[in-house]
Symmetry: C2
Subunit: 479 residues, 2 copies
């Protein structure tokens, strides 16, 4: 029964990308399987990444006037059923509570798969006047969707997310909110997570159940597959009507408010792993790294090394940087491997000769570059190097995205890109017909990712039906 921690290698990402991903998730101690089928545990290091994502996004939401709330986790079946499309979309994936204590419930209760229904129900009781609008709400919670196959962060029966829900006096305001929040997600992904994204609209087939329009940000992973990383939905007044949410307008008449919802989830951690990770493990963008700088004293037995390392640690901490020193009796080599696996952006090495020369060596996790830094310049150099890591990561990810984005004129070209050129984002014209969308999936194995906001001012033909079209769409294999 004794268990020893073994130093194990992770699978090479070029040999088996899926296995590499699972290895990183577990060896970096982000996540662990639980005894409940399809449910995972977020371990301290994984949860700390999620907390940093939360803090960053929560500040952004609050800066634009949003407020957090907590809605009940259970939704009566009758309430869920009031909006037909929503319930049809989610019913196959709902977990049902049917017993409370010793009593059999008269009506079964759904563990929330998403909370549009609860928010609408609440608004129907508290909203009275246009003066109360907009109501800009958000909640951080977990939801359950009873998936058949699961993978850490990407698809699990329970996942953690935020769901923003807002109502507005006019359609224009609700649309502006939908757009603002998509831009908020895109900005966060690009600047903080160093993940470039393509912004666009989902097709009717791929949009959220019950939404009038769904907007998305799509990121490209290192295996050239797409990961939908955040979505923002516009509902018009459809749910307001279904749930009888009304207010007295400026004209003194009863009106239905217009609604948006938007969310990102712990899936973003999957995006980070597959956008930046390498064969040494995780690589974290500094903005959300639980440890931004790891200090490793070298030749700790030599007098003064530990003390100097402690002194440097305190100085870096005073800069407001998340820093840790590893003063354990493991070898420096073991420590290097450990914090590389954990994706720490900067490693600061400090040995007796460094101390003598009043310097240290800082190693970037994104490209392995070693920089000798005078101890007098820590306060300027460390922030610069953290920024350099973010920029380096972004550039690599951007190159990956650009190198594997294609324009195809014919279905054969699409197939060739998927089957012989490693896949990627494939742009084509599209007639707008769902039949062609389904045919593309069947023939080339790609699904529609989005109709990008950035369109081309020209006309071509749909590669399936040959009809002329001036709308382009992105296709890809997706997580």
């Amino acid at each position: 029964m004794a268990k020893d921690k073994k130093v194990e290698q992770i699978t090479d990402m070029d040999v088996d990308f899926a296995q590499w991903y699972t290895d990183v998730c577990r060896k970096a101690e982000l996540v662990e399987y639980s005894s409940v089928k399809g449910f995972t545990i977020l371990r301290p290091y994984g949860y700390a990444i999620w907390e940093n994502i939360q803090h960053n996004l929560d500040s952004r939401f609050k800066a634009t006037g949003h407020e957090n709330v907590a809605m009940p986790v259970l939704i009566p079946e009758s309430l869920l059923k009031k909006e037909g499309e929503l319930v049809n979309g989610f019913a196959p994936e709902v977990a049902w509570v049917t017993q409370g204590g010793s009593e059999e419930l008269e009506e079964r209760l759904a563990f929330r798969p998403t909370s549009e229904t609860m928010f609408c129900d609440h608004w129907s009781s508290v909203l009275q006047s246009y003066r109360q609008l907009p109501m800009l709400y958000n909640q951080w919670c977990s939801v359950i969707r009873w998936e058949k196959t699961t993978r850490p962060f990407l698809r699990s029966r329970e996942f953690w997310w935020q769901e923003g829900h807002t109502i507005h006096e006019t359609a224009e305001e609700a649309k502006a909110e939908t757009e603002q929040q998509l831009n908020c997600y895109a900005d966060f992904c690009e600047n903080d997570l160093a993940i470039p994204v393509v912004k666009g609209r989902k097709t009717d087939k791929e949009k959220f159940a019950g939404a009038e329009a769904t907007y998305t940000i799509e990121a490209m992973m290192k295996d050239h597959k797409a990961l939908q990383s955040g979505t923002s939905h516009y509902f018009g007044d459809k749910f307001s009507r279904a749930y009888d949410v009304t207010f007295t307008g400026r004209d003194n008449k009863l009106q239905y408010p217009f609604q948006s919802s938007w969310g990102v989830s712990t899936r973003l951690i999957g995006a980070i792993i597959m956008t930046h990770g390498d064969n040494n493990g995780l690589v974290l963008p500094p903005s959300i790294a639980p440890i931004q700088v790891i200090i490793i004293p070298v030749a700790m037995h030599k007098p003064g090394v530990t003390e100097k390392a402690q002194e440097v640690l305190e100085r870096v901490k005073a800069m407001g940087i998340r820093v840790k020193g590893d003063f354990s009796d493991n070898t420096p080599g073991w420590k290097y491997a450990e914090y590389e696996m954990k994706g720490v952006p900067l490693r600061l090495e400090l040995g007796p000769r460094d101390i003598e020369a009043n310097q240290c060596v800082i190693v970037r996790r994104d490209n392995g570059e070693k920089v000798t830094v005078s101890l007098d310049e820590l306060e300027t150099k460390i922030p610069e190097l953290l920024q350099a890591v973010r920029d380096g990561l972004y550039e690599k990810a951007k190159n990956n995205l650009e190198e594997h984005t294609y324009f195809a004129e014919t279905i054969d070209e699409v197939k060739d890109i998927v089957n012989n050129r490693g896949g990627g984002f494939i742009k084509t014209f599209w007639c707008g017909d769902v039949e062609c969308e389904l045919a593309m999936k069947e023939k080339a194995g790609v699904s529609s990712r989005c109709i990008p906001f950035v369109q081309e001012n020209r006309t071509g033909v749909c590669p399936i039906c040959g009809k002329p079209s001036s709308t382009t769409i992105f296709w890809g294999q997706a997580y």
Copy 2:
């Protein structure tokens, strides 16, 4: 169907304390009932208080080395049943998921009532060596307990809490952790919430199901009833043995770790309301108030008033204080009542004559005291006044606690205090026998609150059985 917001009075707390409480919860817009029986909604203002409680406690937990994690919300029945006392204690209150999507589950899953089982199950798979100990974990989440009767914050089927779970190499370390966390809660209640508490140990009858010892902090509400405000449990190695959690010790032998758990919940908001509230509504301690200072411009139509109020607002914001200005067209009187209802600690009034005299009037919510403050002294005076509000609240609450704490020698005395003197905390000697504890409940209508840490160095007799004892205990009516 049109609904108008009416200005409504709240019930007088001396006439009907329970109704006063419910009125405050709803008129201060903390909480709203939902369509799900026994489940409440935390509205933005109520949730903002909870967020401030979370931030404060989370920093305290992290400062002592604790890490946040997320465990699955559903627990298989077989796993829950491994520790007999725990399951017997919680089974009558568990909500069960029996269907996932369209499939009937082979084994029903409990919505967590508490997560000792999940933590132990996880540790049984990841713990290997004493080198990994202690593991100091915490999670912020909601739990469900299927209560028969519910009241906002005090007892609801779903509530929000944090649950700390730790394992240690030795019993002494686990006991020290249990004590440290109780002290953390007590310090937070006293300093930040301005709520004095009595610290002590629960009797065997009142302790947590499966715990070896439960420690508690008990606060006194304005109606002299007790509110258990936080608990910390010591488990010995009981759960470790039940869930087969082991590690290789320093002696190279397999050992069972020792365990603690501890939690506080949204109940604390109930404690705040009933400790500090008055007939004008909520009164919030500054440390957790979503708005610490409300600025009300007076005679806003006069030139320069709005501008000056804006200028003051920016200055107070720059001090790191949570401040808001109300520039709406409601009357100052309406605004005064509104922010009194919401318990804002300081109201800053600014009118044309104040501006001329380079001053403002600041009104304390705790005692109505008005202070004229020079605009040159805002930066020193506002923090002083916020501290004064906290101190004033604490003193009042402390007086209430002391004035309604009694020592009784006989059961008739206990009854007299309960029936004729308004109740309170009643200290007696106690033989330690559960029969006498039950008899006290039956005869005098009070339950044991705790065996206080502060004991008296003398001997008396148990008022029920007459046996000599040197142990004192607190009795009271409780929420």
